[in-house]
């Protein structure tokens, strides 16, 4: 964990209520599947945001405007500084992926799949990616995933783009050895029930500190209580109680 001042390079809308922010700073401490905690002026608690990508000193975050904090973030401009705690959470274990990993992201759960996909491709794996959104105007990063060389399927709940239905409706279109998923809890539960292999789930919870001190984001697992921020956000399928 490090507390670092990042400078905004770009901050732009990429889909409905969805923004991409590229920050410059020391990214040495950041691993795939982790999150960062941003100090936004005027708010007492920090904003935990999943890491979308890290390349050199360039940190990419994608966030949805869901409340007052992210509303302020959406208005921030190039050159503004953000105090950011980095290196938070356990991240994905990419050693378990097998040759054909499946990456399933829903809405605000899509971003962490990007760096994961990049790293898996770099390891010589052939990932399939299923991206779920409510409708066409919320779709983002389809081309970015394709550019990595992944097999990409987009599903929209209203059928306005790609496969009509939920991410799990696209499962029969792919053959996979293992899976990684991040998204809203009902989607994670559906993936849990539909999946035929082992896999890893990235969870979200209201956090106090983001680094394991306050026990604000605890959950029960088959192996005891875990803190989403410190022992998670990634949990393995076998330990989840559903």
């Amino acid at each position: 964990m490090k507390d670092i001042i990042f400078t905004i390079e770009t901050n732009k809308k990429i889909a409905k209520n969805t923004y991409e922010m590229v920050l410059l700073g020391d990214c040495a401490d950041i691993k795939c599947g982790q999150f960062v905690n941003l100090k936004i002026e005027g708010f007492y608690l920090r904003r935990p945001i999943s890491v979308c990508n890290v390349e050199g000193d360039r940190l990419t975050l994608i966030y949805k405007v869901v409340g007052q904090g992210t509303e302020v973030m959406a208005k921030m401009e190039k050159g503004e500084e953000i105090l950011t705690l980095t290196g938070l959470g356990n991240g994905y274990d990419i050693s378990k992926s097998g040759d054909k990993p499946l990456l399933v992201g829903g809405g605000a759960g899509v971003p962490p799949m990007y760096q994961l996909c990049r790293e898996l491709v770099k390891m010589g794996k052939a990932p399939s990616v299923i991206l779920g959104f409510n409708s066409k105007d919320e779709v983002f990063y389809e081309n970015e995933f394709k550019a990595l060389g992944a097999n990409v399927i987009v599903a929209t709940a209203d059928g306005s783009y790609g496969v009509k239905g939920f991410v799990t409706d696209a499962f029969q279109m792919v053959d996979y050895t293992y899976f990684y998923t991040c998204g809203p809890e009902p989607m994670l539960k559906a993936v849990y029930n539909k999946s035929v292999t082992s896999g890893q789930f990235s969870f979200e919870e209201r956090m106090g500190c983001g680094f394991g001190a306050c026990m604000g984001c605890s959950c029960k697992t088959k192996y005891g209580n875990k803190r989403i921020c410190k022992d998670g956000p990634v949990l393995e399928k076998e330990e989840i109680i559903w």
Binding site: R206, C214, M215
Partner: protein, 303 residues
């Protein structure tokens, strides 16, 4: 040269800074980013007889200048604390530590204190009679002078270490409770715990916190804490650990002027893990600014 040293119940502290229980775990998360031996001490995560998961989530609600938590005393139980947590604590912290204990009955408090008493690194017991997040225990002992005194007497009977009673601000007359604890043998008073608070989400139109209410802390509560430390200082002779919304060297000095011998920092640790080292680094400058040479000289200076 200014002196930051202070004394709490006969134990010398290098400085008055004590991270508050529940905001600092067992220390090792913070030891990843700074040497926690620079602290005066810290109060470890509230420990109970049995393991507890605490309350359902969401347990955290943000507020203007503070937050509400309803963790509800989640801890692995005193046996696992002894087995797993204290060895990790000892590896990164080498000063006397404050053991925060809580219970659902007087017998619970006694059991937990007895179990921990033989740990040489424990310098003080901080007996929490003020958790607002646990029904049938916690705060109920801290809202009546008789119950608070009963817990104090029972704990004092099973340990020779200093016993500091942590009081709830959610009472009509905190002075009466502090005096009852002093008469029952308490060696110190710690205050304040969190204020019972609530937030309602406008989208769902329901409370943000699953348990509906929780403990409000952060800079917004500091004036309440300063007032209560000031009132209790007038009424008791035993030392006071003051806390509530402290996040700067100026706040530390204010709390000591009100009557605190040592100062707890709580919520600030959660939003800035470097909050305590920054305060310690800043204290000499702020002391010089206000003509203070020795922190011990200003305790209760506002009276």
């Amino acid at each position: 040269m200014v002196s930051l040293k202070t004394n709490l119940c006969g134990i010398e502290l290098d400085n008055p800074l004590i991270p508050a229980s529940g905001t600092f775990g067992f220390g090792y998360e913070f030891a990843e980013i700074y040497d926690i031996n620079m602290l005066g001490s810290f109060s470890f995560k509230g420990t109970t007889k049995d393991a507890g998961f605490g309350n359902p989530t969401p347990r955290i609600a943000e507020c203007k200048n503070g937050l509400i938590n309803s963790v509800g005393l989640q801890n692995p139980g005193v046996h696992k604390v002894l087995e797993n947590e204290l060895p990790k604590l000892k590896a990164c912290f080498h000063k006397p530590v404050m053991a925060n204990v809580s219970g659902f009955s007087v017998e619970d408090y006694v059991y937990t204190v007895k179990m921990l008493d033989s740990e040489p690194q424990i310098g003080w017991f901080e007996v929490n009679v003020s958790c607002p997040n646990v029904h049938g225990g916690g705060m109920s002992f801290g809202t009546s002078p008789e119950a608070a005194a009963e817990v104090t007497r029972a704990v004092k009977a099973v340990t020779n270490k200093p016993v500091i009673v942590k009081l709830s601000p959610n009472v009509t007359d905190i002075v009466a409770i502090a005096k009852a604890c002093e008469e029952a043998g308490a060696d110190g008073i710690s205050l304040i715990n969190t204020l019972l608070g609530m937030r309602i989400d406008l989208k769902s139109k329901k409370p943000v916190i699953a348990n509906k209410m929780g403990g409000f802390s952060g800079p917004a509560i500091k004036p309440v804490a300063v007032r209560m430390v000031y009132q209790v200082y007038e009424a008791v002779k035993i030392p006071i650990v003051g806390g509530g919304g402290v996040e700067s060297a100026e706040d530390v000095i204010e709390m000591m002027l009100a009557g605190a011998s040592a100062v707890q920092v709580g919520a600030a640790n959660l939003v800035d893990p470097m909050a305590c080292p920054k305060i310690i680094e800043d204290l000499p400058r702020v002391m010089e600014k206000y003509g203070i040479k020795d922190l011990k000289d200003i305790i209760g200076g506002a009276h």
